[in-house]
Symmetry: D2
Subunit: 432 residues, 4 copies
């Protein structure tokens, strides 16, 4: 779920470097946004970890700072003294090449450092990062600029995780607290589903040019695709309810074998965050509990559920290459975090809708390396490559993804049983 | 780990009732002490639950208030309106007869109600309890006074748990924070061990007269005991180190079968809270990490370890009746919570030492009902009786037990594998 | 579940030694009976282990031979050569002092040695045991005779386990095969329950004289007992059905806390081996599936169920000392293995019935050492002493216990959740 | 791990139908071979199931008969009476659409039906299958012939599993029994590794023509592949030992994240079936324990180990399309089951070696549906399609695969952590 900027500079790529002015600005903006997101929270909220996957906000706040400290300050700022040497262990997420890390499942047990101390840690890192940006020698600037870009994109990923994790952390509290009470709601009716057809042949996908891209989006390469059709919008709640009403969760013939075992083991009978009360369905959102809106895009379904729905519907999920070829022709815009809804909306308009934002769309593509992929050397090489097994690719960003963070070639990835991200699905079918 | 005042009133007992004046005073004192104990803590500390057994301070703060609300205010105060009706579920500990309770293992996930709200809950309950004490009709007073006594003893038990649980909750943090930095330390050398002999015969144990006693201490009854000898003091760290040096944790012949399986499964090789660094042993305390003091009473050992030590020493643990007969002749005094050490001390003087305070002493007695025991009717009957299986009795209180809470007949009980309480052992042997 | 003959010889006891003639006869008889019990089985049946607790018949056949080989042949027969040196590891049950043992849970995976080889192993041991009995030097005979008595009692215990374990091993097969089709069935109606009263005071229990007894039955010692009453017969199926009909398995107030957790976790709603089909209850027996006979003694209930039933009935379980004092006055006779039913019967007669045979009766007594108990030295000391924690005492033998194996002081012991033995309960109450 | 013949007939394919003569012959030959494979086994060996994945030989013997009974006799033979109606439940493997099945993990607990009965079951099915082949009406023959082909290929898959599962089932026995003592051993030295290069471009893979093929091999379709190189032979033990000596199992940077977690959790430090004694490596084989031969092809490694080895070697695993394009040019021949070694051999010759036989070769390709894949309707549709998640494709067959069962397009699939099949790896690299 995290990704590295390809270190293409050595390969003579045209990746444009941040200049110091821009770096100063971007750094300040991204760092400030993280704190803004945490402002509605109590100190105790910032310690919550409901399951291993959902880290506490305080841990996120510290870890992203640790990233700058570890990969920039300690490497490039002479005589830099860490804020607290123990943090190297406490706030390392999973980099095996860096002397061990606190177990992921136990992040919610770190009442100390307390929240104030973590904010002082952030200020300490910010102060030294500004010094680094100002004072770094010119010969180091290209390396620094590259790592800075990684660090900022990394912090944006954790901004998204702060919200997705918090939603689950609150969900296990019977009081069902809201992150923010006043979130705007979607209105209108979902447009009828129609289909967009694409010709087959040899196509190119992946990021090849300049601009930010993580290493797993590279290199740009050729693929052969047969002609296909893509649904005009993702599946909506009303359609998913029809699947449920048709016994979707009780019919093994609709499910992958591992999916059916998961349904049985965990007792799934609806998407995550759905509650039935007196026959009516409700949905827990970052704005609290709401009646389920049948026109909204369905969200918080696993790959297994997405796949079963598609089989029930007589369709299939798109491959990531099918999605990317279609999306590359479209502007990156939609119900992303900046829209302020923090919940999937309603695709009211005709035409291809909601490719970006609303929900990450499960694809039928297992997450693997592109042909010619090379992980970067050193600990930063662990960012993406080591996760290329057992996970599925999702595309397009969601209602909690920063708008300037996503792009056509962006590959997100989660395990087939994961549901706590803002995940949905769009149908596809063969064209001939 | 909790106990009910026998409802002996019906049986015409002479249990002296609290009068309203005394009730007002005791209630205020106990309630204030609980908050005093939490004063050194951050809001985040108050949410910690490292293992299922160790509840967060905030949960303790709320649960003891729930106890007064449920068993007194809702029963006896006309038109009482609960502070928050959801708290009936959230802060019920284990009373099955009261419409369910939040799972014990998930108490650490309740960031809401936040700490301020819990303090407001306490104030609300206090205000109404004072009203109840002032206004209750005379005919209800005996019942109210009895339940009030239970509630205050109950809150004292949770005062002890706040400290024992917190110690473990902090322990899992690699920073090993101290609850209070400035705790006083013990000095001097432990007195040599000698033996005190007691004649056998039919004896009486249990609480029979007036004064507080939980239901599990009653009725007073006869037992036959063969002559025995009791060690003058509990086992100390130096003696326990000798057991370890003799391969104690590697010699199955010293262990109960279930104990040996536990040693293997959990990898035990020293008491809980012991750390070895560069060959030296350290001990984590509520005052932080300290070098292990060989003269201090050994603490945080399980029943299995206590039993194995005794077997290695060629002795045995005392039965609870042996302990009680010996202790009944002694004043209740020692290194209890009010001593302010919050850590076991050193038995420097000759003679029978440390029967009260320092460490709860494991006995060889499984926790069972006394002959003629009857659990009270209703939900309060769940306080003690339902735990009379699979646990062992411990006696005497510890360095975190309130001094006015313990007595000769007091029976504490934990599972044989438990180590997080302040638990130690005293040796015994047959006299003939 | 196993026990050691007290090695009282050193203490000058009057334990009568087996003479060689008697030894030869007893050895032959016990060994032959074990094989007789296995005769109805297929080789594949002899490999079954449905759960960790239920060892395969083949393993029992080999282990009891290993016992003679290890504790007699290798100690006292000069130049004895083991049948197969690997068997020392494979067929050791749990003796930690003997170089390790094959994990208990994996006994069902030993297809080799095959059954024929195990019978050859038995023959080899028998041949050398006869030689040992014939040729042992007189000075060694007392030790040998003592260990031989232990070995034969040990083999009898495993005869019982062969049947109890096999019942469970077959039970998990949907075909529900019978061990023997032609088992006789009980007839008649259960006598009404009445009560037998016993005066209190200081009593003696435990085995003090000559005759076989395991170490855990000694020494004979004094106990103080308050006056009590014992039910004339164990609880029967009809009574247990009434408990079930009264919601027994759904009412937490009837259960010990650990018991209720077990009921929830395992989904218990009836005794083990009960099946409901079209509203009727059936019971799986060693003779196959039969309609539940309401007059038969209830069997295959855990301690938790026995305790909950007693609480529902307004009674309690007897202490082991109460049981023993009552039983010591009665002849050891009843529906034991030799009766050939292999299933509990019906107590049709008035008066104190079924103390011996039918079902092992749960007592309220945790399994602990008697005052003055000393485990024997060496590996044989592991026979009993190390199990004295977390288990409850059962008394009286069952329908699969050899008649000459049980006695008033005999203490069996199992965990409170165990149900696969032939276990039932008899009620008791205080007399005053 | 099982696969269905595509039902292409409806689609007008040229799949050649078995005629009755050929059907009679093939049926007899395949069925007889299964029994031949079980001949060296004891009845108890036939009940072994060491882990959930490794079914007992007896279960395999019955299940393949159940397949013919369920999908042919009950469908096409008028008035067919099942041998035992309970077998429909007992011997169904995983077909959810057929009224439930006995849990996979409990196949080793079915001592009944005993082995003789299972052989009588086989004879009963054989007799009726011969009748069906002889008497089926012509209009049904095409369907019957298709299902017969599936059933025979299915039985061949289980022939392979009988050997792979048995190897593991024996392995957990400390006696390490051999399946057959007299297996021939390989000789000679492994040829040096060299590389075979292939041009990139649009290629076709999958089975398109007549001849047997499972549904997951179809349809034949185009893929784009960049130029690549394939190693001349799989990795050998000597090379794998070098990886181990270089700290392969201790260096997280070499491993996929899930792989490293698996190494830690299971304590892997060598391939399955390797044992180190006094510094020397031994390997358990179907012929018993042997010294490790450094020239033999490495076997019983997981995908995680294969991937880590490749990363350490600076190479990668081939994609399944790369493997298939290379293999399609080669005859299907090699160290397959008929060679009688039942163990991987030594690639002594230069040139592309061991594509078929010796070891199944892990590919970098997750097991997914080919474009245009449709699972057959009904329960037979569960054969392959529902497993297309979380598994990796392996190619080429092994030393226990029937020679007439494998082909260039054959796709085997296992979880990345599986090691009990005869699995190895061949390296690949990019060509430009």
């Amino acid at each position: 779920m995290s990704q590295t900027l390809t270190q293409e500079r050595d390969a003579g790529s045209s990746l444009p470097l941040l200049d110091r002015q821009q770096a100063r600005h971007d750094y300040g903006a991204v760092r400030a946004m993280t704190e803004t997101l945490c402002r509605p929270l109590q100190p105790e909220d910032c310690l919550l970890q409901s399951i291993t996957e959902t880290s506490p906000p305080k841990w996120h706040l510290a870890h992203v700072s640790w990233f700058f400290e570890t990969f920039l300050l300690q490497e490039y700022l002479p005589a830099y003294r860490p804020f607290n040497p123990r943090f190297r262990y406490l706030f390392n997420s999973y980099y095996e090449q860096l002397d061990g890390y606190h177990p992921r499942a136990r992040r919610g047990l770190l009442s100390r450092p307390d929240l104030d101390t973590v904010y002082r840690y952030r200020a300490w890192v910010d102060e030294h990062m500004q010094a680094l940006i100002d004072q770094a020698e010119a010969e180091h600037w290209p390396d620094i600029a590259l790592r800075l870009a990684i660090g900022l994109n990394h912090e944006q990923q954790h901004q998204e995780l702060i919200l997705t994790d918090l939603k689950h952390n609150f969900w296990v509290n019977p009081l069902l607290p809201a992150y923010r009470e006043e979130l705007p709601r979607s209105e209108g009716r979902a447009a009828p589903l129609d289909w967009h057809e694409y010709p087959g042949g040899v196509q190119e996908i992946g990021c090849g040019g300049d601009g930010y891209a993580f290493d797993n989006e590279r290199p740009r390469h050729r693929v052969y695709i047969a002609p296909w059709r893509l649904a005009s919008r993702p599946v909506i709640n009303a359609e998913y309810l029809a699947f449920m009403d048709a016994g979707g969760y009780r019919r093994p013939e609709l499910w992958l074998s591992d999916g059916w075992a998961t349904v049985q083991r965990l007792g799934w009978r609806a998407p995550l965050y759905w509650l039935q009360q007196d026959g009516d369905w409700w949905q827990y959102t970052l704005g609290g509990l709401r009646p389920l809106n049948p026109d909204e895009t369905v969200c918080h379904v696993s790959y297994y559920e997405a796949d079963a729905f598609a089989r029930w519907a007589g369709k299939r999920l798109p491959g990531e290459q099918e999605w990317e070829v279609a999306a590359a022709q479209r502007p990156v815009a939609g119900n992303l975090r900046e829209a302020g809804r923090l919940h999937p909306g309603i695709a009211t308009a005709p035409g291809l809708q909601q490719l970006y934002g609303d929900v990450w769309e499960w694809t039928s593509s297992p997450y693997t390396a592109y042909p010619g992929y090379r992980a970067p050397a050193g600990a930063l090489g662990e960012y993406n490559g080591k996760f290329m097994c057992n996970q599925q690719v999702l595309r397009g960003g969601s209602c909690v993804t920063p708008a300037d963070h996503v792009r056509p070639s962006y590959r997100n990835f989660f395990y087939p049983h994961d549901r706590w991200q803002f995940m949905g699905l769009r149908l596809a079918e063969d064209a001939e």
